[in-house]
């Protein structure tokens, strides 16, 4: 009987997270266009329903009914699988991210996380690097020189920045002493947020920068680079496949922000204590602020050159994240 309850609980949580995530992704496309519009002193989309709220639905319908073109010389199985890999990897990340405390539900303790993995963070990094395959294979299999260049750049850039990304959270791991994301959040309860309490502010910044590079957002959107590569890795994609890549990008964006919130900003811990069944509000608010920052900086910074990105990753971020590990170790020894 316990197993049945567990199954029901997990299925409900999976459905909930999936639904909310897809809703967020859909409306994030609108939010991004609106915020970018406002930054450029114009209105964003505002034709479909009041404030353009129907725009994601209209876009979805449009993408769904478009012709699905597969290039004649494309590697067909890989071409079809690539967007699926992207979206699957992006969504699977949310399996271990805790979005709230433990609540009582019909006399049963339900913690607001799908899977309390002991290797949560390792899982996150493993799945996040799987997501690269979507981009790389998608660009490679489409038999297009721009797609191939985008895929090459994606491979080089994402692998370089993954290193710095993983190193930037090492400080948090050392302090927490666990890979379990739920425990990491619990240790930060009561304002002991890693970003401010344990001198992990700079790693937080490094994490955000590497996260930007990981999800190929604007200052680092080398694989896409509209101006040079005419859309890069997804150049040959149309219809729902393109939409899947698009959704994967936004899901990944939310994932990066959610992980940053979990690791550095204390997850569901907030300035004042909400009852456990409302604790997700803090999590959503912090993640939302980070997402806003990601869109805001997209409206501000131009794209870097490819060699600048690589130099920045290897010669600046990597040494500094290594130094941070050293510094955190020193801090731990000194404070016990």
């Amino acid at each position: 009987m316990e197993l049945v309850y567990f199954l029901i609980e997990t299925i409900v949580k999976v459905g909930l997270v999936f639904g909310v995530l897809m809703g967020c992704v859909a409306y994030l496309t609108l939010a991004e266009r609106k915020i970018l519009g406002r930054i450029q002193v114009r209105y964003g989309p505002n034709r479909v329903w009041p404030f353009g709220l129907g725009q994601p639905i209209a876009d979805g319908i449009k993408a769904f009914f478009k012709e699905d073109v597969i290039p004649a010389k494309a590697d067909k199985p890989l071409f079809v699988i690539a967007p699926m890999i992207s979206i699957t990897a992006a969504i699977s990340l949310f399996a271990v991210i805790p979005f709230g405390g433990v609540i009582e539900f019909f006399g049963r303790e339900v913690s607001l996380v799908i899977a309390k993995l002991d290797i949560g963070l390792l899982y996150v990094f493993a799945i996040a690097s799987l997501g690269e395959y979507g981009v790389v294979l998608g660009g490679w299999s489409s038999y297009n020189k721009y797609g191939l260049m985008g895929a090459l750049r994606a491979a080089a850039q994402m692998i370089s920045y993954e290193l710095a990304l993983a190193l930037s959270v090492m400080g948090v791991l050392m302090i927490a002493g666990t890979l379990n994301l739920v425990e990491i959040v619990q240790q930060q309860a009561g304002w002991h947020w890693n970003a401010f309490y344990h001198f992990q502010f700079f790693p937080f910044i490094f994490y955000l920068i590497c996260g930007l590079a990981e999800i190929n957002r604007t200052p680092f959107d080398m694989p896409e680079a509209e101006a040079e590569l005419a859309c890069g890795f997804n150049i040959e994609y149309s219809s729902m496949k393109f939409a899947l890549f698009f959704m994967a990008e936004y899901a990944h964006l939310v994932a990066v922000c959610a992980i940053a919130t979990t690791l550095f900003l204390g997850g569901w811990d907030g300035p004042f204590n909400l009852p456990p069944y409302l604790s997700w509000i803090w999590f959503v608010a912090k993640t939302g602020i980070l997402v806003y920052f990601f869109i805001w900086q997209r409206g501000t910074f131009p794209r870097l050159r490819y060699d600048q990105i690589m130099r920045f990753g290897w010669k600046f971020l990597l040494p500094l994240t290594l130094a941070n590990i050293f510094g955190t170790g020193l801090y731990m020894v000194l404070t016990g």
Partner: protein, 152 residues
């Protein structure tokens, strides 16, 4: 040895200074976009709101009064988009049997209005003139008369 050490320290400090300066530059950019985010968009929401055109705007043509079919506009029109068939009455007065302006070819230079000796043809201020067929964009005499603004 000491000198090289000092140079190293100098370059280190200089590097940190450059880093701080560049971070400030980035923050400055973020501040600008943040203030713009809260400013009013300058877009004119076109179908609902229309922009006022200049009083000298050259839009769609109209007849302010009856044409005397002198043919000066036909002669001066650089894109040769005016077709005029003049008829002379028994009393010597001329009138246009057909007067057509092909607005697809017209470049809205306003020369016809300048050349007209009786100020019959004028260019109005209406710029919303579209159709699905080209034939509908050829203005004949009746439509030119109908195009005249109300206040004239």
């Amino acid at each position: 040895m000491v000198i090289s050490l000092l140079t190293g320290i100098w370059w280190f400090i200089r590097g940190i200074g450059l880093l701080v300066a560049s971070v400030f530059a980035l923050l400055k950019g973020l501040r600008l976009t943040f203030t713009k985010f809260f400013s009013r968009p300058v877009t004119i929401q076109y179908p609902e709101k229309k922009r006022e055109v200049s009083p000298r705007w050259r839009g769609i043509h109209y007849f302010e009064r009856d044409c005397v079919a002198c043919g000066l506009c036909v002669a001066i029109c650089p894109s040769q988009c005016i077709r005029l068939v003049a008829v002379e009455q028994d009393d010597g007065e001329r009138y246009p049997e057909t007067y057509e302006i092909n607005t697809v070819r017209c470049i809205y230079c306003g020369m016809c209005a300048e050349a007209c000796p009786v100020n019959a043809i004028k260019l109005g201020r209406n710029y919303e003139f579209v159709d699905y067929q080209r034939e509908a964009l050829v203005l004949d005499k009746e439509r030119l008369l109908a195009n005249a603004p109300e206040e004239v």
